[in-house]
């Protein structure tokens, strides 16, 4: 087989791309933590989100 290294490299790239798609991985900014699920359901306001809103004012031209 010609270019065995390139073929191997290509298969690795392809496998990585396929696996990434398969698991639905993205570059989205998502933080992970663990809580007691019942406590949030009982008192949603008690949870302090990690996410900070982007206060962007467009406000017209």
């Amino acid at each position: 087989m010609r270019h065995p290294l390139f073929t191997l490299y290509g298969l690795i790239v392809m496998a990585a791309a396929g696996w990434t798609s398969w698991r639905g991985l993205t570059f989205s900014r998502v933080d992970q933590t663990t809580v007691a699920p019942k406590s949030i359901r009982d008192n949603p306001g008690a949870y302090r989100p990690i996410y900070i809103p982007h206060r962007r004012y467009f406000g017209g031209k």
Binding site: A17, G24, P37, P44, Y47, Y51
Partner: protein, 435 residues
């Protein structure tokens, strides 16, 4: 190998050894460098003046070496030169002799060696694109260079009339690792075929001491260490096609299931502005992404959603958010609008389980609306739809993988054409751009 015949130089009396026997026409006295006619009854001096600087052949005359299974003896040496753009380029030729096989040649230029034999048949004239070419034994040789080669130094014996200062026209045609040379005089054209030979092979064949001199530059018929990039591009095409097949297959089998869709209303200064949780919903199947989408009817305002996807069984939380805003109006240029009324966030690699969303909508109370300072006590609100979809397929892995696959063939192409560019820079076609 037969013994040599010894004669005496009529000019200086030095001993001259003839190794080529009856075929030898001219010999050069190694003591006084006179060119002698060996066909005369007694040796006759036919040229006395040579360049005073003696050149020591890298292969001493009289050395024997084996090429293609035949033992040859080095019996003659000459240096030839061409002038290009006021620059003189010189190469060296060694005449090899075997009484049964005849003559062969070794040529050397800047450390590059060729093993040369004269052709028993004529090549056929041809064309390659716009360039002259020759076809010999089914192989096409493309024209490389035309020059007038001048003999500048001779030593040993030769089966032809040899003189320093003699000039012949040369045309080189290449098909690496071969070089087909046409040497033309008024009366004849002699074709010879050179095969690029590794310097170490010459050293080994003649049992020469030390290491051969370093090669400089790229020689006309030097084989490229890099293969043509076409096969690399074919492999790239097949890998890209395979990548597309894999990703399209993943896209087809990725679930696309809406697991939650709820409509809410946000109103500032009311309980509807407080954080809340959605009903639970079930995510099934293999770990995959989850898309949370917010569609609003927001108008000349902005909102943020702090969102948390929470596994109701394990307590694992994916914390993320969505920001949106939509403004429109009319000014001297006409109607305008900017921003968007919806936003989506993708949560990757979420395992199966029972989940709910914690939602914390908000608006920036202090932000002015359309350039007019807002009243912080004014109620602001909007309606929004919250939806959760299991499974999302994006093309970004392809957009990353495709350039990564491109790197090796581009590098191979650059390497190949850089080598070929160096080769052809020494030719009559130095503006060479493509093969």
């Amino acid at each position: 190998m037969p013994q040599v015949r010894a004669l005496f130089c009529p000019n200086c009396g030095g001993t001259i050894q003839l190794r080529g026997y009856a075929q030898t026409v001219n010999a050069v006295c190694e003591h006084c460098l006179s060119v002698l006619d060996t066909k005369a009854e007694s040796l006759r001096v036919i040229q006395q003046i040579q360049e005073r600087t003696r050149i020591e052949p890298a292969i001493p005359l009289g050395s024997r070496g084996t090429f293609e299974g035949t033992r040859y003896e080095a019996i003659g040496f000459q240096q030839r030169s061409i002038d290009v753009d006021d620059e003189t380029y010189s190469w060296r030729e060694y005449l090899l002799f075997n009484p049964y096989k005849g003559y062969r040649y070794l040529t050397e230029y800047d450390g590059h060696w060729n093993y040369v034999r004269t052709l028993p048949a004529l090549p056929v004239r041809s064309k390659y694109l716009t360039r002259p070419a020759l076809v010999y034994e089914g192989r096409r040789f493309v024209h490389f260079q035309h020059a007038a080669a001048r003999t500048t130094y001779v030593l040993g014996e030769f089966p032809w009339q040899v003189r320093t200062g003699e000039t012949v026209g040369t045309d080189d045609f290449i098909s690496p690792p071969y070089l087909l040379s046409a040497e033309s005089t008024e009366h004849e054209v002699v074709y010879s075929l050179g095969t690029y030979t590794e310097p170490a092979a010459v050293w080994q064949a003649f049992g020469l001491q030390g290491a051969p001199p370093w090669r400089r530059g790229v020689f006309a018929n030097q084989p490229s260490p890099y293969s043509r990039p076409a096969s690399m591009w074919r492999r790239f095409a097949s890998l890209t096609a395979l990548l597309l097949v894999v990703l399209i297959s993943v896209a087809i089998i990725t679930p696309h299931e809406r697991v939650l869709e709820q409509v809410y209303r946000y109103a500032s200064h009311t309980p509807a502005a407080a954080p809340f949780v959605t009903p639970t919903f079930e995510l099934r199947g293999r770990p995959s992404s989850v898309v949370v989408r917010v569609d609003t009817d927001i108008d000349n305002d902005a909102a943020s959603f702090a969102l948390a996807l929470i596994n109701d069984e394990t307590g694992q939380v994916w914390d993320f958010g969505a920001d949106l805003g939509y403004w429109h109006g009319r000014d001297e240029d006409g109607n305008w609008s900017e921003g968007r009324r919806n936003a989506a966030a993708t949560v990757p690699d979420v395992p199966a389980g029972r989940y709910y969303l914690r939602v914390e909508p908000s608006i920036d109370e202090a932000a002015p609306i359309s350039g007019v300072a807002s009243d912080p006590n004014r109620e602001r609100g909007f309606k929004y739809t919250l939806s959760v979809t299991r499974g999302w397929f994006g093309w970004w892995p392809f957009l990353v993988a495709f350039p990564l696959l491109l790197i090796p063939p581009i590098a191979a192409t650059a390497r190949y054409y850089s080598f070929e560019g160096k080769r052809w820079s020494e030719s009559d076609y130095s503006t060479y751009l493509s093969s």
